[in-house]
């Protein structure tokens, strides 16, 4: 019997929402790590029982939790994230140099082939890797050795590395994004990196076409086409057909091209989802209507999906890691809001329902498809 497990990180703990393949009746387990911020929870593709969670607190720092039984029980794993060598400096908000200082883990990306191997994207922006199931972490230091590191500046949420993309069809390639430095790619498993921001235009920085400095909110990829990337930038929805070497805008007829999340349908690589947000000053849906927009053409032409979503007086946000898809025959789409709702669609976005309504503010949503 197939099923899905939705892993939800919130401002006050984690929750596991599970259902069978019909995705009609949902069971909610949690809160796990109650009272702590859980930035991200993600399971291994090769061993769905192996799940990692980033548990963090402004008081007590960073913990990594690991489950080997599908989220029923958890144990703290290694939580020492030490920058390699002399950390150096990046730019602070005011443009002054600021030493790199570890704050928290934003994103955990288990390896596609080995459940003990995980990449972690952290704030202040750096990439770490474990090869022993999160007992120990080592910095993938080639990224910060990229010559532009001293120019990186934090976005409003901090200098965070929030997106990590890998693909089994392109071994050794890692694509990451940092707010507000931009996107970077390695084709040699993290040894060397290049900035991949050509074509991005950000009017809010001194040089709108700069090599780095772009506030990328999220990047999505379909596993079958690792050269095609979709990006929700601060403003602008972008597309690359050459693994990020060049980008072009595909915002098309969206009501606003500001937003945070972006994802791709599990079986249709040209079907893309975004949730437009009014502006960088007003982080809520335009007109108080929560609408997912779907493009079936890889961008430019977008249709609003509203059935089952609140169409009046809705002023929540959907944060960058808070959308995911399942891989069942009819693709399920899921997203969580800062108002604590988790919405699910079992029909590729045509209709939606809240499968959790009153959780703490949602920071992240991931889905495991169980067969």
């Amino acid at each position: 019997m197939s099923g899905v497990r939705v892993l939800v990180g919130t401002k006050k703990g984690a929750f596991v929402l599970s259902a069978d393949g019909k995705r009609t009746n949902w069971k909610i387990d949690g809160p796990l790590f109650a009272g702590w911020e859980v930035y991200h929870v993600k399971g291994s593709a090769v061993d769905p029982n192996r799940i990692y969670a980033s548990q963090t607190s402004g008081w007590f720092g960073q913990l990594i939790q690991r489950s080997d039984d599908g989220g029923r029980t958890w144990a703290p794993a290694g939580n020492e994230f030490k920058y390699d060598g002399v950390p150096g400096t990046h730019q602070h908000y005011d443009g002054t140099p600021r030493p790199w200082e570890f704050k928290r883990v934003w994103h955990l990306e288990p390896d596609a082939l080995d459940a003990d191997v995980v990449l972690a994207g952290v704030e202040d922006a750096a990439l770490f890797r474990t090869v022993d199931g999160a007992k120990t972490w080592q910095e993938v230091s080639g990224l910060r050795a990229h010559g532009t590191g001293p120019q990186w500046q934090p976005g409003a949420g901090g200098l965070c590395l929030h997106t990590i993309l890998t693909s089994p069809s392109r071994p050794g390639r890692i694509t990451i994004a940092i707010s507000a430095a931009g996107a970077f790619r390695s084709d040699d498993d993290g040894v060397t990196w290049k900035a991949i921001n050509r074509g991005l235009k950000s009017e809010y920085i001194p040089d709108p076409d700069a090599e780095v400095g772009h506030c990328i909110h999220h990047i999505a990829m379909h596993g079958s086409r690792p050269d095609v990337l979709f990006m929700q930038k601060h403003w602008d929805v972008m597309r690359s057909d050459d693994a990020g070497d060049t980008w072009h805008e595909v915002s098309g007829d969206l009501p606003t091209d500001f937003g945070f999340v972006i994802d791709v349908h599990a079986h249709e690589p040209e079907t893309v989802y975004v949730v437009p947000i009014k502006s960088d000053s007003e982080h809520f849906p335009p007109e108080g209507k929560l609408r997912v927009y779907r493009s079936r053409t890889g961008g430019n032409e977008w249709e609003p999906l509203t059935k089952g979503l609140p169409q009046s007086d809705c002023y929540v946000n959907v944060l960058r890691d808070a959308m995911a898809v399942d891989a069942l025959d009819e693709c399920g789409v899921y997203f969580g809001t800062t108002g604590g709702q988790v919405y699910a669609s079992a029909d590729g976005g045509d209709s939606w329902r809240a499968i959790a309504r009153d959780l703490p503010g949602v920071l992240s949503v991931e889905v495991q498809t169980l067969r």
Binding site: G35, G58, W59, G61, Q62
Partner: protein, 98 residues
């Protein structure tokens, strides 16, 4: 036997209730107390003081004998009453945030 009271979240994390008892003889520093706590409860590494620098985390405070002793430094000796087990060392999260 020294007695330490941990904040709620760290008690939950370590799976302990009430006071934690530490077997430290004679004069002890705050750093030595935390060393013992971390040795007994490895999951607390990094939660009271930063890994690497060993500094007390900014929003973690130490109270003892009715005083805020947070700024005495990790290498300072704990009060005699605490070392003798007649008073508890209270580790708590600063009142901040929501």
């Amino acid at each position: 036997m020294m007695r330490v009271v941990l904040p709620y979240h760290l008690r939950t994390l370590a799976g302990v209730g009430g006071e934690v008892r530490i077997d430290l003889a004679g004069a002890a520093t705050y750093a030595m107390v935390v060393d013992e706590i971390e040795a007994a409860y490895p999951m607390l590494k990094g939660t009271i003081r930063e890994q690497g620098s060993g500094k007390r985390r900014p929003f973690v405070r130490f109270f003892a004998c009715g005083q805020d002793v947070s700024h005495e430094g990790m290498d300072a000796a704990v009060p005699e009453e605490v070392a003798a087990g007649r008073e508890v060392l209270i580790v708590l999260g600063a009142v901040a945030g929501g």
